[in-house]
């Protein structure tokens, strides 16, 4: 709406177009910074590009995280154990989250603890790993209360049951009306291990809960 109103205002005075250009330039500068800090640092040299599983029987070679077979039949099931987000002081163990009968993702039972959706990828494996946590309990702030204040470049570490740590950096933080949740973007296939952190935001309605979901999109560090 306000965008339309802006558009109508422009023809009224010619010099307004100058204002538009300047403001747009601001926007580009900020977007540029954001993508620069969120993008992978350029790789200098990878001396031995390697391949994934082979008929010869060789496993995935070192230095190639996430390029292995998607869950080889013999692999022990690995799961995430805890999440550390230094920028907002989060250090939580993880529940396992499933879907309810209607196919919606259930929230963690404990508001002070986040949960990992078992139908997504294991953090550090190819695909989207999804971790959800409450913004508040009935009485006050909960584990992901400050999730919306994360910004591009902030670190998120996920400890796994095999003793390894999957490391991510925030690429973007966005809010969506829950009714227009971008399922494909959050749960759709990705060619590298990515992480999505989800909580609530926006207006709270006693009957329906929060109107929005805040989603943090993170990529491998």
């Amino acid at each position: 709406m306000s965008r339309i109103r802006c558009g109508r205002a422009v023809p009224r005075a010619r010099s307004l177009s100058g204002a538009g250009v300047l403001v747009i330039a601001f926007g580009i500068a900020v977007a540029g910074c954001a993508s620069a800090s969120g993008a992978a640092t350029p790789i200098a040299t990878a001396p031995t590009p390697s391949v994934a599983s082979e008929s010869a029987g060789a496993g995935p070679l070192a230095g190639m995280p996430g390029a292995g077979p998607a869950g080889s039949p013999t692999a022990a099931p690995v799961h995430p154990v805890s999440v550390l987000i230094p920028a907002i002081g989060v250090d939580t163990r993880l529940e396992r989250l499933a879907l309810d009968r209607s196919g919606q993702l259930l929230a963690p039972r404990n508001p002070d603890q986040a949960g990992w959706y078992t139908g997504g990828s294991v953090p550090g494996e190819i695909g989207p790993a999804v971790i959800a946590g409450h913004v508040d309990s009935r009485t006050g702030p909960a584990v992901f209360y400050r999730l919306g204040s994360l910004r591009p470049g902030d670190r998120v570490l996920v400890a796994r049951s095999d003793g390894s740590v999957a490391r991510f950096r925030v690429e973007s933080v966005r809010a969506f009306p829950r009714a227009e949740f971008p399922s494909a973007e959050v749960y759709g296939a990705t060619p590298e291990p990515v992480l999505r952190l989800i909580t609530c935001g926006g207006v709270y309605d006693r009957g329906n809960g929060y109107r929005d979901n805040v989603v943090v999109f993170a990529v491998p560090e």
Binding site: G38, T48, Y145, P152, Y187, T190
Partner: protein, 285 residues
């Protein structure tokens, strides 16, 4: 200051504030990147050094050295835009003319496989678009035929045929396959090969058919991408309202919004002053 000027100034200020507010969530760099992996799939071509440049920038962004036949790099995340990929003989001067080069466009949220492909005599850089979606409840499989000792192959899984008479240098489209463990079987004129593999639900695979050093068939299974096995319906109800009055509302920081307002106000003030200093503008429009 007459009424029209004042009205114009208000309009400028209002426009700036509106623009600032509108553009706060805009840095959604969410999908401003894509992915590229680089490969050498030319059986009779010696090892190469592969360079990737942002278009028009002579400083290479990625250099992969001594990339031999059958090697594929992991995906590299790149900002959207135009790039140039060049291949030189392994160890060649980075400033020397490349053996082959091509330009490509990285698009938001898209993945590409960029491979030196074909015989040396007719070597070209093939740009394959890699799939990032599967039919619900399925996996998908694509086959790249890069064997010269067996230039025509049949490919099947336990569930049936995937490709027949697939000729070098060739690529199939992605085909849906049932999730689960199976064996990819490839038969050529002089050799055959099996590769036990597991197709997870919502995973996207490329099997590459190669020559081994001894001239046998060699198979490589790549997981191009993977998604959630089941996509939940809608969002998540992760709030109970106990901090609703003060709960943070969304993806933008209040502090960041504050800076935008300050910037917008400064801009508006500057424009207003410029307006008054240059009376010629007042008659415009």
């Amino acid at each position: 200051m007459d009424r029209t000027t004042r009205r114009r100034m208000l309009a400028v200020a209002g426009l700036c504030v509106a623009a600032a507010l509108l553009s706060v969530p805009a840095p959604a760099s969410a999908q401003s990147t894509g992915w590229v992996r680089l490969a050498h799939l030319s059986p009779d071509t010696p090892s190469v050094d592969v360079y990737l440049y942002a278009f028009g920038n002579p400083d290479a962004k990625i250099v992969l050295q001594h990339v031999g036949y059958g090697a594929l790099s992991p995906y590299q995340r790149l900002a959207v835009g135009r790039y140039t990929v060049a291949m030189r003989g392994a160890g060649a001067d980075p400033d020397s003319d490349p053996v082959i080069s091509t330009n490509l466009e990285v698009k938001s949220g898209e993945a590409l496989t960029v491979a030196g492909f074909g015989r040396t005599a007719s070597l070209k850089i093939e740009i394959l678009t890699d799939s990032l979606s599967t039919p619900p409840g399925k996996a998908t499989l694509r086959v790249i035929q890069a064997s010269l000792t067996n230039p025509e192959v049949d490919v099947s899984t336990g569930a049936g045929s995937v490709a027949e008479n697939l000729r070098f240098p060739g690529v199939t489209g992605y085909q849906p396959v049932d999730p689960g463990s199976t064996v990819v079987h490839v038969t050529g004129d002089t050799s055959e090969a099996d590769l036990p593999t597991n197709f997870a639900t919502a995973s996207i695979h490329t099997v590459v058919v190669l020559d081994s050093a001894s001239g046998e068939l060699r198979l490589v299974d790549l997981t191009d991408a993977s998604g959630a096995t089941k996509t939940p319906v809608g969002g998540v109800n992760t709030g109970l309202g106990g901090a609703a009055a003060s709960a943070p509302s969304g993806g933008d920081r209040p502090a960041a919004r504050g800076w935008w307002l300050v910037a917008a106000a400064v801009l508006a003030a500057g424009l207003a002053i410029a307006w008054r200093v240059r009376p010629g503008r007042r008659t415009a429009g």
